[in-house]
Symmetry: C2
Subunit: 301 residues, 2 copies
Amino acid sequence: MTLTIGLIGLGAMGSGMAQSLRRAGHSPHVFDVRPGAAEAFVRDGGHACATLADLGARCDVVVSVVVNAAQTESVLFGAGGDGDGSLAAAMQPGSVFVMCSTVDPNVSMAFESRLAKKDILYIDAPISGGAAKAASGEMTMMTAARPEAYAKAGAVLDAMAAKVYRLGDRAGAGSKVKVINQLLAGVHIAAAAEAMALGLREGVDPAALYEVITHSAGNSWMFENRMAHVLAADYTPLSAVDIFVKDLGIVLDMARATKFPLPLSSTAHQMFMQASTAGFAKEDDSAVIKIFPGIELPKKA
Amino acid sequence: MTLTIGLIGLGAMGSGMAQSLRRAGHSPHVFDVRPGAAEAFVRDGGHACATLADLGARCDVVVSVVVNAAQTESVLFGAGGDGDGSLAAAMQPGSVFVMCSTVDPNVSMAFESRLAKKDILYIDAPISGGAAKAASGEMTMMTAARPEAYAKAGAVLDAMAAKVYRLGDRAGAGSKVKVINQLLAGVHIAAAAEAMALGLREGVDPAALYEVITHSAGNSWMFENRMAHVLAADYTPLSAVDIFVKDLGIVLDMARATKFPLPLSSTAHQMFMQASTAGFAKEDDSAVIKIFPGIELPKKA
């Protein structure tokens, strides 16, 4: 049985994932709120849907790759709830909704419950790896779902990602692990900025500092990746400061629900908010280094 | 010309470095304050010195591998200054003192100045890599020194370390880079603990969390290394909580001298102090996770 697959949100990640589906032999139905985006995509194969209801009615598995929880809510249930025009109202019983956004795990668990009432299956499936890996099918998915959801849509996940972690038998653990990854990513970017800023303040050669740290126990994936942007004075946003204002906000929201203290995450969140409001919201997240006073950052060669 | 080498401090790092010197064909003169330590070492070659003055008078290059700045001060200048019995009084003009401890860079620069008045050369040379790499000659040195000091003792450094970074032409940059590495190492250990603690609070399987994070952008050298101790419930101190109370203290002292703000370092320092005073001072630094309330840590299998 060949499944009909839908994909909502043809942004940097979603368009790459739709390409991976096409490469795997699917002819995906796609939808994007931006006029013309779906039509442009289907020039190389696939079907553009004019409405979410149209997509929902046609597909066995719907993959949602929108920005956040609010957009996911809007996609599923529309501005006016789950009335006739919404995706959730249009999807068939037994079909599967795959939620790929980074959201509060409690929100993801609530989506699963609400869809279960309509006999729609759900996979909690945040993604990681960036646009290039999405397009090549090499990204990572952190998933959790009921066994019957995996049984129906597991192969679709494997078509989009090199590594599909299965972390639980109902929604929640996928989003939890993704949120904890974002905790570390955000703290590490802010720590990398703090370390590089101190080096500049102390007159250490930044390239030499980068060389030593990336070969020492102080290294992190984020130090190595983001401080290269600072050395090159290139703040083109691959991922923007405001993404970590959002994601560390989700980290803190999740922990607040169980009154759990997160001293480093809350400090890093303040640093990204300071950077955002100081004018660097749309710059690369490494621009958090610009909050440090009394230093001269490397300039473009 | 074969140099006569001395080494002071036969602890975990120093004894390995003395072995590396022996392997390189040297017959090192060694000293340790602990009775019998030097005698035990020289059973396989080398010379035990009864006093620092004896060692200083005999050696062209003296490598100091003591715990901190206070011990280095005591080694060099004795309790009573630089009088007749001290190492600095005994060392010959033109000989070289190699300072391998993690200290405030300003302290290291002051050692260089004070020794220069006696025509003793100085290498700012903090080390990194742990005891096993010290013994195999594979550790890293972060060094800075005047060219004449490198000219005389450069080969001695290479005999002890796989990688000798030369970061400046006078003392300071070696210690600065080492201190910044400790900033990142300390923040990353505390962040790893915070992330793992949140996962436990949220009911995530800690082994699965470890597996995903170590293959994701949230990874750090310290997360991968130290959270393995937490999963194994093994808090045997490879490096103790109190080492980071000390080292993050040096980070903050250095930055305070130029009034430079370090929000994450100061937060992490508070976390290690909380762990220390709560009773975990001598446990592995990963025991900083024990400050988090309301979680059950993995137990020994």
